[in-house]
Amino acid sequence: MSDIMTAKDLNLWYDQTQALKNVSIKIPEKSITAFIGPSGCGKSTFLKTLNRMNDLIPSVKITGEVCYNGQNIYDSSVDVNELRREIGMVFQKPNPFPMSIYDNIAYGPRTHGIKSKVKLDEIVEQSLRDAAIWDEVKDRLKKNALGMSGGQQQRLCIARALAVKPKILLMDEPTSALDPISTSRIEELAIELKKSYTIVIVTHNMQQAVRISDNTAFFLLGELIEYGETEKLFSQPVDKRTEDYITGRFG
């Protein structure tokens, strides 16, 4: 499998505090890559550098490079809106817009210039089907999305991200606010989606990483400590710190 995304010597500072230290990683296409590590280890920060969501924080400074399909996304010629369209994101807390289910999904395509009702209907249905929520919502597309359960909202957010046809889906602890049943539905969905998309998921839950990911990266204090096949990382960790973390000695 080819690598769709690579980071090289990535450093990131919030003001004076260094949050990422020389992170280098290669993320293979159409697979699930999990980032694990204790709170404050930099895994979410690193995830956000992959679609430049950190740009929104004024005090952030970044050095090194992140390449998507061979292009450094921090190059000044890169259109960040175009980039985020290719690299979608699902957040920790489900964050549907306060509008109808239909309008939530249609928001991205409309933003990118699709006006035809027929085309939008098609995208909305397909995205909701892909996110395995179509059957639950097809009769209430005009209802406000905020009336759905948390788990449904999160799948709606996944559908919304899929509607702009991204290549990569970044998920920032997408199940941390959800109950176990909703969590397992999102996990099943992620496994289904990796047939067509590359998924990078930050998770607090090591069992989740084991259950769904192909590769796992362990972060600690802003450093990438160990990265490799999930099965191998959890059964025979190379680094002592990885072993300590996955066996529950800290974190």
């Binding site: 980039l83 957040f91 964050n95 549907p96 817009f97 928001y107 991205g108």
Partner: protein, 287 residues
């Protein structure tokens, strides 16, 4: 250990009385206005009073039609909203979402100052600068007109519109904006397609508050509108509901004075309606 509840109760009682004082004032004014406003309407006739197009209170055969005032107030307010709301809304979007901290602090200070300027000063500047300018630009005999009043009102309502809209826009959860940006929308698209719709109740409240300020303003509009009871026309001297009361009260008597109370009652009903609308939007914003 026995708690001394007497002091607690006493303080509770004092605060309750202070609170009721406000309610009492509102009630008193309402009752007073209704009692003193009804007789003239009864004598003139509700229809002739509200829809009469001529106001000649000091004529040998006096006429008490307040339609010119009602329409002037409505048109003046509508004009001020038409001009003030877009300016105020865009300024609020800029200040709450785009401006950097320094610019924001400076401009917010300026907006607060604008809110604090006494209306007589608005009137004075309007009289000395705006009215002659309107006369020159539009080549009319007198610049004191509905148009000048609209411009002054539009400026006067800006602070309320900007501040209330800003509060609403700033209260929009950042998660909504993040979601939009993560879908590849530009920041400007995000502000107008996500933030503004999410803040719509608050922005509507800002507009209604602006309506309230505009319709209740007396001094500034009296100084720039010419204060002649014509049926409203953009470049003619006009008189508002507020200024109709203010300009004749000092020398009025008898039915004329009673009619002025009736005008105040009509104005009061307008304000009540606006307040009810405002509360409706504020309540919606809360939900």
């Amino acid at each position: 250990m026995k708690k001394n509840k007497t002091i607690e109760r006493a303080i509770h009682g004092v605060f309750l009385i202070l609170g009721l004082l406000t309610v009492g004032c509102v009630l008193l004014i309402t009752i007073y206005l209704v009692i003193s406003g009804i007789p003239a309407i009864a004598e003139i006739g509700l229809f002739d009073f509200l829809f009469g197009t001529e106001w000649a209170s000091t004529a040998a055969e006096p006429k008490y039609g307040i339609l010119p005032f009602i329409l002037t107030s409505v048109y003046g307010t509508a004009g001020a909203i038409l001009i003030g709301v877009p300016i105020g809304f865009f300024a609020a979007v800029y200040l709450s979402k785009m401006a950097n901290q320094k610019v924001k602090a400076f401009m917010e200070g300026a907006v607060s100052l604008l809110a604090g300027i006494p209306s007589v000063v608005y009137g004075l500047v309007g009289m000395l600068v705006l009215v002659p300018a309107v006369r020159e630009i539009f080549d009319i005999p007198d610049g004191a007109s509905l148009f000048s009043a609209i411009i002054v009102l539009a400026i006067m309502i800006l602070p309320s519109i900007i501040k209330v809209s800003m509060t609403a826009l700033e209260a929009v959860p950042k998660e909504y904006e993040d979601a939009s940006l993560a879908l590849g929308a530009t920041p400007v698209e995000t502000y107008f397609r996500v933030s503004a719709p999410a803040a719509k109740s608050g922005i509507a409240a800002a507009v209604v508050l602006g309506v309230g300020r505009a319709i209740g303003e007396a001094m500034a509009v009296m100084m720039v509108s010419g204060n002649v009871p014509n049926m409203p026309s953009l470049f003619q001297s006009v008189r508002f509901l507020t200024t109709a009361v203010a300009s004749e009260m000092s020398y009025s008597s008898g039915l004329q004075q009673q009619a002025l109370f009736s005008i105040a009652l009509v104005l009061f009903l307008f304000i009540m309606l606006i307040n009810a609308t405002l509360n409706f939007f504020l309540k919606k914003e809360k939900d």
